[in-house]
């Protein structure tokens, strides 16, 4: 097996032309900070059925149950949560791979559910996705060049036919792959390189928004940092907005401007990275942060240890009131009857807890 080795930076000769290849530069777009995506009360319930011939619905898995988020141009919003909390369903709803059960996704002020025909096609071009698993998300029978260029067969106006090979090569170069590899197949690349192919594929359609669904979770630490840096560079260059979904809290803090914490289908806390990490106010966020092992020896044992008991309840039968109350040490009677709203209760940023209170869990690195 040949293992092409790559540097993480584009070669100087073609770097300049690559900029014109992929999406428009930031200046050609709307102003930074303009609201691009607004998610209001988003719900996705999957039916649970019983029976073979005559299917009866016996319940619903409430995968996403009332999610509110805003994504502005040029910013990165991190979405963290543990497995099964519904974060990947949010990403599928955003790229219109699933239809929401309730709530709305507004893109540049227009409701996604009301879009059809040309508007929907345009939405699908402008909102792209990078998947977690670089092994199963690339077609093994297609060459890298075909994978990157495939979107243009639907959105043919993005790249004129005769320029496509050149544009593909420029894109590969931009994401740090050798442009001569257009005719290679995915199995000839390592995990990190495959993730770069996935990024080039998303960039090919000049998106405004990229939903990154656990883009670095499958990668080794040293390669993960390469991909994180690449995503940051591309954002600066093309004015992209990212919804960065991950379970690794350190990576999310590093890359995100704002962070939302998700538990069992809904957002429990949101704020800037500093607000959420330095002054977490929801007990779940506090427990989550306190569970992350730190790699600096001088910080060992300085963390406020909160060990959660038990497991996440089933989203098919979530607890009444506050979803987190079954594992919460602060739970009282009101938590079982009344679902707490995601509002600021005096701690400086919104948290969905009746007893929200800022508590520093992560030690501050003084040196």
């Amino acid at each position: 097996m040949s293992e092409p080795s790559e540097s993480s930076r584009p070669t100087g000769a073609t770097a300049a032309s690559a900029a014109s290849a992929a999406p428009d530069s930031a200046s050609a777009r709307g102003p930074l900070g303009e609201t691009l995506l607004e998610i209001r009360g988003l719900q996705k319930h999957f039916p649970l059925t019983q029976g073979v011939l005559f299917k009866r619905t016996i319940g619903h898995v409430r995968a996403v149950d009332g999610v509110n988020m805003t994504l502005r141009r040029g910013e990165t919003v991190g979405l963290v949560g543990e497995s099964g909390c519904g974060k990947s369903t949010v990403s599928k709803l955003l790229v219109a791979l699933e239809k929401p059960t309730g709530g709305s996704i507004l893109y540049k002020g227009k409701d996604l559910a009301a879009m059809s025909g040309r508007a929907l096609k345009e939405y699908r071009r402008e909102v792209q996705i990078i998947f977690q698993d670089p092994y199963s998300s690339l077609n093994p029978r297609m060459t890298v060049g075909d994978i990157v260029a495939e979107g243009w067969s639907v959105h043919s106006d993005v790249a004129p036919r005769k320029d496509r090979l050149k544009r593909t090569q420029e894109l590969l170069d931009r994401v740090g792959l050798n442009p001569d590899y257009v005719n290679r197949y995915p199995h000839q690349f390592s995990g990190g390189q495959r993730q770069r192919i996935g990024i080039a594929r998303a960039l090919a359609l000049r998106p405004e928004v990229i939903v990154c669904d656990e883009p670095v979770s499958a990668l080794d630490v040293s390669v993960q940092a390469q991909v994180v840096n690449l995503l940051e560079d591309l954002q600066d260059e093309f004015g992209l907005s990212y919804l960065f979904i991950a379970h690794d809290l350190s990576v999310v803090r590093h890359i995100s401007d704002r962070v939302s914490v998700m538990y069992l289908g809904s957002i429990v806390e949101e704020g800037t990275d500093e607000q959420v990490y330095a002054t977490p106010s929801h007990p779940y966020t506090q427990a989550l942060l306190s569970s992350v092992p730190l790699h600096e020896p001088h910080l060992r044992g300085q963390k406020d240890r909160i060990l959660l008991q038990g497991d996440v309840p089933s989203p098919a039968d979530p607890p009444s009131g506050c979803r987190f109350r079954t594992r919460c040490w602060k739970a009282q009677d009101i938590c079982a009857t009344e679902a707490p709203a995601l509002v600021d209760r005096g701690q400086g940023h919104p948290a969905a807890c009746h007893f929200a209170e800022a508590r520093a869990v992560v030690p501050v690195d003084v040196d």
Binding site: S5, E82, S190, S222, V228, P293, H295, V362
Partner: protein, 351 residues
């Protein structure tokens, strides 16, 4: 840092004597396409109550070396050479029956993927009880009773009720506890944990790591923790061996190695990881990809990715990075690193 070694934990061997000594272990896989050199001469020892972390990325040989110790590699295609001494006896020259006697009461292992490591058609109680039935000739009833006790010990709630449940009825964290229950059933002297928490969420990971530490404190067993997670190593282990391309490139206490790396690879890893406690500046990744084990670079295997390499005339005689293999040598008290220029790496990150 050596606190767990001075703990008044129950001891069974002469104090200080290593339980396990691995000497110049090599593992290669002979395939039609060529020879894959998965492990290339690693040596380490483990004492009672000690936690040794083996840190490395995928393809560094960390799991294969553990499988060689457990004797669960298929031979052939694997070829294992060197020595693995458990209480002084070389396991590689033992009969298969003697090896089987060591596995279980001597050394046991837990794996990353608990779901695929458990048999889906037997209840967990039956699978835990199998240890007692096979190794100790216990009756079914006794075995089940002991299984419940073990499930209690690994803090599975309502153990008596859940003993007849099947693996798919447990969550990921609970399944890993079932695996741990099976591994500690015969009170092993050494537990090898191969990425025990990689598939788990952080809150569950914290529970499982706490459980492993508590069990170790109770029994005084030696723990070999195989992981790629720097945070887990820092919070759990006493000592760390960093592996790259089938070799140990750096070894020392976690405090020493993580505070001030002595090998450019370790240094690169530390610079690649974002921090939780601060947003931090731009990450400094290691360039390139880990090497293909069928074609490991000549000289120092890390030299194609190394920012500190010295090639040709830049290098000191006998220390050319692309031709001379750096031996694992003492570079500071209690510290070993396999780099010709380790002294230049040390002190750079000093806090």
């Amino acid at each position: 840092m050596t606190q767990s070694q001075t703990d008044p934990a129950p001891r069974r061997a002469a104090p200080g004597a290593p339980l396990l000594q691995v000497e110049d272990l090599h593992v290669e896989f002979r395939q039609r396409s060529g020879v894959v050199n998965a492990v290339n001469g690693i040596s380490y020892s483990l004492a009672e109550g000690q936690t040794l972390a083996i840190l490395g990325e995928s393809g560094s040989g960390k799991s294969v070396s553990a499988q060689a110790i457990m004797g669960i590699l298929d031979v052939p295609p694997a070829v294992v050479s060197g020595a693995i001494r458990f209480e002084g006896r070389d396991m590689l020259t033992m009969s298969a029956e003697d090896q089987r006697q060591v596995r279980g009461p001597g050394i046991s292992m837990i794996f990353q993927d608990a779901l695929s490591s458990l048999n889906p058609v037997y209840s967990v109680g039956w699978q835990i009880g199998e240890m007692f039935r096979v190794h100790q000739g216990a009756s079914r009833k006794e075995a089940k009773k002991k299984a419940v006790e073990l499930m209690d010990r690994v803090r599975i709630p309502a153990a008596a009720k859940r003993v007849d449940d099947y693996p798919h009825q447990f969550s990921g964290g609970m399944r890993q506890r079932v695996m741990i229950a099976m591994a500690i059933a015969l009170d092993p002297r050494i537990l090898i944990a191969d990425e025990p928490t990689t598939a788990l969420d952080v809150t569950v990971q914290a529970q499982v790591m706490d459980l492993l530490k508590d069990l170790q404190r109770e029994t005084g067993m030696g723990l070999i923790l195989i992981t790629h997670d720097l945070g887990v190593v820092n919070e759990v282990a006493d000592d760390v061996a960093v592996m790259y391309a089938g070799r140990i490139v750096e070894r020392g206490t976690v405090d020493d190695v993580f505070t001030d790396a002595g090998h450019p690879y370790t240094e690169g890893l530390m610079n690649s990881v974002p921090q939780l406690e601060a947003k931090g500046g731009r990450l400094q990744p290691i360039v390139g990809q880990p090497p293909n084990l069928a074609a490991i670079p000549s000289g120092c295997p890390f030299h194609p990715r190394c920012a500190r390499r010295r090639l040709g005339a830049e290098a000191a005689p006998g220390r050319e990075c692309s031709t001379d293999v750096p031996p694992l040598r003492l570079v500071a008290p209690g510290r070993e690193a396999a780099c010709h220029y380790s002294e230049e790496v040390l002190g750079v990150r000093a806090v």
